[in-house]
């Protein structure tokens, strides 16, 4: 240790230690989860399982309510993303192109839902949803998910639309394209990276949303994170780990597929208030 300390120099040494701690914090739980998920026999006081296997995978995959929650989760996430796109893209376009009075106020208003404790908002929504008979229904759950994603879905695409220069749209009009064709053939493809990033965030946020879904969706709509609560409470940790990995897979796939677009650049561009 002493050799290492003097060999690296004080500064480097501390940096390495901090980095090691960070890695441990970051990947430690993930590794533990992987070990748990593939554990067979695993009893106290051993640190690692005695045997490995797919015992818990069989268990999880054989339970109908867990399987159906996977379907529900993806259905909700796809629908929430699609509806959110349909609502927020026109708003984003308006914010980026039209200089109307109170534009900044509108942009700030999307922050509101993120400014308060989520549970408070959900409770307030629940009160309204009872009256509208939306409790325990798919539309109710979708609404909760969409409210959560509106900030990202307007701000990031608005930033992307701003990067499409007005001349580029005007050149298309000039060449004979109407406003609609110009939007779909010029503006939308050019803003695609930003929109894709926003859509991924929305999709992933919807997949992992649990508080609101539990409050609004139970007992009829059970997504994966909601089921996860039950599993964690009722079964050994291994069952939860398997389920958590299943929940993790789509995130990893999406991020790998679209890593070209997802970066600090797109995010910071989108979140600039202009």
């Amino acid at each position: 240790m002493k050799r290492l300390y003097y060999g690296l120099g004080r500064r480097k040494f501390i940096e390495y230690i901090l980095f090691a701690v960070f890695i441990l914090f970051f990947y430690g739980p993930l590794c533990n989860m992987l070990i748990l998920a593939f554990a067979g026999e695993y009893e106290y006081p051993d640190v690692i399982p005695q045997t490995y296997g797919f015992k818990w995978w069989d268990y999880v995959l054989s339970r109908d309510n867990l399987l159906s929650s996977i379907t529900t989760s993806f259905l909700v996430a796809v629908l929430a993303t699609a509806i959110s796109l349909a609502i927020c893209l026109p708003a984003a376009y308006a914010i980026s192109r039209i200089k109307f009075k109170g534009r900044k106020l509108v942009m700030f208003s999307f922050l509101l839902t993120n400014a308060f404790p989520k549970m408070g908002i959900y409770t307030a929504m629940a009160v309204v949803f009872y009256q509208l008979n939306l409790m325990g229904t798919l539309p109710g759950v979708l609404l909760v998910h969409i409210v959560n994603t509106m900030l990202f879905m307007t701000w990031i695409p608005a930033g992307a639309f701003r990067n499409v220069h007005q001349q580029q749209e005007e050149a298309a009009r000039d060449a004979g394209a109407g406003p609609v064709r110009t939007f779909f053939q010029i503006t939308l493809p050019m803003a695609f990276p930003g929109i894709a990033v926003a859509a991924i965030y929305t999709f992933l946020a919807s997949l992992e949303e649990s508080q609101g879904t539990m409050l609004i969706g139970l007992p009829n709509i059970k997504t994966m994170p909601v089921e996860l609560y039950g599993i964690i409470l009722d079964f050994p940790a291994s069952g939860g780990a398997v389920f958590a990995i299943i929940l993790l897979i789509p995130s990893i796939i999406l991020l790998v597929l679209l890593r070209k677009y997802v970066g600090p650049d797109t995010l910071s561009k989108g979140l600039k208030l202009r």
Binding site: H165, Q167, Q168, E170, A171, A172, R173, D174, A175, G176, A177, G178, R181, Q185, I186, P189, M190, F192
Partner: protein, 323 residues
């Protein structure tokens, strides 16, 4: 001038576009003839781009009429107007190849694939960029991108080509080449062009006629030579080329530096001391300090060598314009 004076291509009558009481263009009248290149020239904020955008359909005008080939076009959206515009920058669509960029308008006109490919290839030849169909705009230099933008506009076979400072984002050397190129293309295709610039040198080099604009009005329209030699007012005199403006008995006398003749101290209309001699290539600039002002004089280099700093000289004005 090669254009036929009687053949009016575009008629602008009483066009007004107000952004505020002082900003915009006010009651503009202008005729553009078949096959000529007219430049709208003026300082920034004079309304030249506003007028061009109004012609292209990107500004709805408040009053007036724009007739192109005899048809009023002021109420048509840009996509329905037989005009094509090239902007200062960001003309091309970065997600499309050069071919797709150029074919965009032709595809909308439902032309056959074969026809489009042929036209695109031909137009790339015209702008001297053959074979770059498969490239993306980001792979081209700024000058090349503007060539493609001009080619794309020409493919639309517009009645009038509108150019909004298309070369001002390019560096000086390329800008010069592009001017010559544009002039060549215009002459070989016989196309009518309205060109906006704030660069008087560019306007002089390119134009068949120049419309000098200030604060939303056209101050003077004429050939480069007539505007240079006979400016109708002080603003035009001062804006185009260099000009000595001399106060004389309540009038302003405008004298071009090349019309200032140096004489012996006692023989001129005025006299003074040489304060500055600067070689500017094939000619030299000499500044003469008289009693109340500084006179600028251009002399051929050979002659300039006869004069020394702080020498007393007389000045005579070979040609002057009184306002």
């Amino acid at each position: 001038m090669k254009s036929d004076q009687n053949n009016v291509k575009m008629q602008i009558r009483g066009v007004t576009k107000r952004f505020s009481p002082t900003e915009g263009v006010f009651s503009i009248d202008l005729d553009v003839y078949e096959g000529e290149l007219v430049t709208l020239l003026g300082p920034s904020g004079c309304g030249k781009t506003t007028l061009l955008r109004a012609i292209g359909g990107f500004h709805q005008i408040d009053e007036g009429e724009i007739r192109l080939d005899g048809t009023p076009i002021q109420n048509l959206p840009p996509e329905k107007r037989p005009t094509a515009m090239v902007f200062q920058s960001y003309n091309l669509w970065p997600h499309m190849t050069i071919y797709e960029n150029m074919a965009f308008g032709l595809r909308l006109r439902k032309q056959s694939k074969q026809e489009i490919a042929q036209k695109v290839a031909h137009m790339l030849d015209v702008v001297k960029m053959p074979g770059c169909e498969k490239k993306y705009p980001a792979q081209l230099s700024g000058g090349q991108q503007q060539r493609i933008a001009i080619a794309r506009a020409l493919l639309l076979e517009p009645s009038v080509l509108l150019l909004d400072e298309p070369f001002s984002a390019l560096d000086a050397k390329i800008r010069g080449q592009m001017r010559e190129e544009l002039k060549r293309i215009q002459q070989s295709l016989g196309i009518t062009i309205v060109f906006v610039t704030h660069d008087q040198e560019e306007a002089m080099a390119l134009s068949d006629r120049i419309a000098v604009m200030r604060q939303g009005d056209i101050e003077q329209v004429g050939t480069p030579a007539s505007i240079y030699d006979n400016p109708e007012n002080e603003f035009v005199a001062g804006f185009i080329g260099q000009m000595n403006l001399i106060e004389d008995a309540g009038h302003k006398v405008a004298v071009r530096p090349e019309d200032v003749v140096l004489t012996a101290p006692s023989e001129g209309q005025d006299s003074g001391e040489i304060t500055h001699i600067m070689m500017l290539g094939h000619y030299a600039q000499i500044l003469i300090r008289t009693k109340d002002l500084e006179i600028r004089c251009f002399l051929p280099r050979e002659q300039a060598t006869h004069y020394l700093l702080h020498q007393q000289v007389g000045v005579r004005y070979a040609k002057a314009k009184v306002f």
